[in-house]
């Protein structure tokens, strides 16, 4: 089994980064160059292995190409967990994405992170991340997917918090992890629901048993599906858990490119694609709306952001919303397609922004300017000539994300919009979905070009630094060039199709949609049919909205015909909301975190200051009180005080004799007599 390269190579791809992590974290400090070559070497190897797998897949050209292997992890007789890997076309494409972007990131980081105090740990964590991401990709069952899922969260935590001296970074990393955990809880509940019904964790048995319709169906299945989808909501930063991703930009920029743009956040989409067969139609509707809302919401926020990475972050959220929308409307291969293209161009956009920030940083450093924010676009402008490679590469990717023909984004976005449109055509009550989709597409074109114009065009806003801006070193530009070129459509339509308007190509041939396992759902053919009908309309519309967006940006930020300031003042309310990200953080803080912390403090107070102090210690106090009372009753406390001094036995004999009895004793006798009386009356008469 293991000799089979289709099993062995994925396993190597999985574990090589882990090995690199272990070597670099423990011995990195002692190795030359802090062991970065170990990390880069291993990751490039995995990339090559992934290329081999891809080639195999490509040569096979079989949509049902699939390999798998598993071993028994836990076996208690009835309760069994087998962990294993599943290698099919989807996996291989995803592996390629991950290893490619990861390799690029490693190489990019060689220069970007040079001289960092925790250089080796950075590379180690990248290795850990790649391992866990590959784990998600290769998982053939829910448990190992969940495990990798959480591990991805941890590597994200570690990398976002790489510069933990900054409070903002520490906070962001914690926020990312906890927000993800919220989603993971849903994921886990979904797993438990599925397992308790189906009795299996592996994907295939689950699909089969759902298809059987006996074990689980209806509302339960919907809830299970939505629970699992919660995981995607957290990881893919969907509304309402989208708040962590923009903050995650506190991490180093290559990390943002790798994890928070291309791969990790796409894991949610990947999972939805992988598990698409379990979603019931009602679950899908919820998913679609979540995606649509996320897409439009993030786009609206992105238009007003000034931090270059924040714009890209919200753009990522918005694009992820598109993908989720696609899943929800049933065209999940389109979602995956968009994942693929988006990974390329968005990673590239981040590298480019990293390149810009890197040089800004150096320039500011040279100018001894420590106050200017190197990420604020308002401080940039006119970098076009200083950084040509970065500029052109970024432009290409921007065109791709804006959905301009000839570029990859056009193909995938078009597929999604077509799917959404056809869905709305068949379910007119859900007309908002395509509306949000197209509006978000327009906004995307707008804010991306706003970014381009503000950064590279026009006049420098701060002249003093522009002279120090120059192109980044080769380690950084080479990934930029590579990924920039991958934004062209041609790489996705090979080998048959050279028409930039049609998405048909190896991807659509090899990644074919499967029927939902839920009985009664639309078949994949029907969905494809419907989408096909909507294709041209969607294409037209998307071209129109993209042009409008670009034009608007051009007019506002290049030609300055329309004053952005005027508009923002005119729509002050909306502008405020957009600028402040719809006050999500503030409201969460006020209505969620703070009450929760207060609850924790109240509970702790209850536990320690109240329950323990008054209730538990109350028993002790009560005992002591009783003790005092009975002590007083049994023997006067005042007498006790004098006992040791024999003051009670004072100086005349008569007094001693008189006081020899304290009244208590006679009280006692009185009680005794009274007690006997009562007993007599009760018992005898």
């Amino acid at each position: 089994m293991i000799e089979n390269p289709m099993i062995l190579f994925p396993l190597l791809i999985l574990f090589l980064p882990l090995l690199s992590f272990i070597i670099v974290i423990f011995f990195g400090n002692k190795l030359p160059r802090q062991g970065d070559w170990v990390a880069v070497g291993s990751i490039v190897t995995t990339f090559l292995l992934a290329c081999y797998l891809f080639l195999q897949m490509f040569l096979n050209y079989d949509p049902d190409f699939s390999h798998g292997a598993s071993f028994s992890w836990i076996n208690l007789g009835e309760f069994k967990i087998n962990l294993g890997i599943l290698v099919d076309n989807l996996t291989i494409v995803m592996l390629l994405i991950v290893t490619l972007v990861s390799s690029c990131t490693h190489i990019f980081s060689l220069a970007y992170m040079k001289g960092d105090i925790r250089y080796n740990r950075y590379f180690a964590y990248l290795g850990l991340f790649t391992f866990s991401m590959n784990g998600i990709v290769l998982a053939d069952n829910l448990i190992s997917m969940y495990m990798s899922w959480e591990l991805v969260g941890v590597s994200s935590y570690l990398l976002i918090g790489h510069w933990f001296e900054k409070d903002s970074a520490a906070n962001a990393s914690k926020k990312a992890f906890l927000t993800n955990r919220v989603g993971d809880i849903g994921f886990f509940i979904g797993i438990m629901l599925l397992y308790s019904a189906v009795g299996a964790f592996a994907f295939n048995p689950i699909f089969e048993s759902i298809a059987g319709g006996q074990a689980i169906a209806g509302t339960t299945l919907t809830i299970a599906g939505l629970g699992i989808f919660m995981g995607a909501v957290g990881k893919s930063s969907q509304f309402p858990l989208h708040i962590w991703l923009p903050d995650a930009m506190e991490g180093p920029t290559p990390v943002s490119a790798l994890m928070h743009a291309a791969t990790m956040v796409a894991a949610g989409v990947y999972m939805c694609v992988r598990l698409f067969p379990i979603f019931t139609p009602s679950a899908l509707i919820v998913i679609a709306y979540i995606g649509a809302i996320t897409a439009i919401l993030a786009a609206l926020i992105a238009v007003s952001q000034n931090d270059i990475k924040k714009v890209l972050a919200y753009s990522t959220v918005s694009q992820l919303g598109f993908m989720i929308l696609a899943v929800g409307t049933g065209v999940y291969t389109a979602a995956f397609f968009h994942l693929l293209t988006h990974a390329m161009f968005k990673a590239n956009l981040f590298y480019c922004s990293g390149s810009v920030i890197h040089s800004m940083h150096h320039a500011l450093h040279k100018a001894h300017d420590h106050d200017t924010d190197p990420q604020d676009m308002r401080n940039m402008g006119g970098f076009k000539d200083k950084m040509p490679i970065t500029y052109f590469s970024m432009l290409v990717s921007t065109l791709a994300i804006a959905g301009v023909p000839l570029f990859s984004g056009f193909l995938s976005k078009d597929a999604i919009l077509a799917g959404t449109l056809s869905f709305a055509q068949h379910h007119p009550e859900h007309f908002l979905l395509p509306f949000f989709g197209f509006l978000a597409a327009a906004l995307t074109a707008f804010y991306m070009f706003r970014l381009i114009f503000m950064t590279f065009h026009g006049n420098p806003n701060i002249k003093s630094i522009v002279k120090n801006i120059h192109e980044s070193p080769k380690e950084m530009t080479s990934p930029i060039v590579l990924l920039g070129s991958l934004s062209f459509f041609i790489f996705y339509t090979l080998p048959h199709n050279f028409n930039p308007m049609k998405d048909k190509g190896w991807f659509t041939d090899l990644i074919v949609p499967r029927n939902s396992a839920v009985p009664g759902s639309l078949t994949s053919n029907e969905i494809a049919e419907y989408a096909h009908h909507a294709h041209y309309l969607a294409m037209g519309l998307s071209l129109i909205v993209a042009s409008i967006g670009i034009l608007l940006a051009y007019l506002m930020y290049q030609k300055k015909v329309i004053s952005a300031k005027n508009i923002s003042e005119k729509f002050g309310f909306f502008y405020d909301w957009s600028l402040n990200k719809f006050y999500f953080d503030e409201n969460y803080n006020r209505y969620l975190y703070q009450p929760f912390l207060r609850l924790a403090h109240t509970i702790s107070w209850l536990d320690w200051e109240f329950y323990d102090k008054y209730f538990i210690n109350g028993f002790g106090k009560l005992t002591k009180l009783l003790s005092t009372v009975s002590g007083k009753f049994d023997y006067s406390g005042i007498d006790q005080g004098f006992v040791d001094g024999f003051g009670r036995a004072s100086n005349t004999v008569g007094k001693l004799l008189r006081n020899v009895q304290t009244g208590r004793l006679q009280n006692y006798l009185l009680f005794v007599v009274a007690g006997i009386l009562v007993i007599i009356i009760a018992q005898a008469f």
Binding site: Q666, L670, A674, I676, I681, F685
Partner: protein
């Protein structure tokens, strides 16, 4: 006639007993106790217990009571016989004891005592003597050990050594 004497003696006994516990002057109480003890001895006579009556007067009146008065005198630097001492909780105590008495007496009167008719013996000394040397030999002997101990104890405590 005998009844009248009986009641007089009884009244004397009880009333002087009441005096013992109610009077505030210790010496008066002691004297009242004397009358109670005498009265008790009288009752013993009515109960055909001539020997016990004699012992009562000899030991109780002659011994114990003297000891008691001696104790009173000794422990109070007597300047007059009016050695006052206070009582406490007489009210509540009185009520409780009163009811206690009522129920005690009720219980006693209702109880089926073992009653056998008997004729008045000539004297009880002989009978008591025989019993002491047969059935009750052991208590009788033990009493002697006890008296020995009491003697030693009293001597130890009151001797003025050290």
């Amino acid at each position: 006639m005998a009844d009248i004497v009986f009641w007089i003696i009884s009244a004397l006994t009880v009333m002087s007993a009441a005096f013992v516990v109610l009077n505030n002057q210790l010496v008066y109480s002691a004297v009242a106790l004397l009358f109670t003890l005498f009265g008790t001895a009288g009752l013993y006579v009515f109960l055909w217990a001539d020997f016990i009556a004699g012992i009562q007067i000899l030991v109780y009146v002659g011994g114990i009571l003297v000891l008691v008065i001696f104790g009173i005198m000794l422990t109070n630097k007597i300047k007059s016989v009016r050695i006052s001492h206070k009582s406490m909780q007489q009210g509540v105590g009185g009520v409780v004891i009163f009811w206690f008495f009522i129920f005690l007496f009720l219980a006693l009167t209702k109880a089926p005592w073992v009653v056998t008719e008997a004729i008045e013996p000539v004297g009880t000394v002989r009978g008591i003597g025989i019993l002491l040397l047969t059935d009750y030999l052991l208590p009788f002997e033990i009493i002697s050990v006890l008296l020995l101990g009491a003697l030693i104890g009293a001597a130890v405590l009151s001797r003025g050594d050290s």
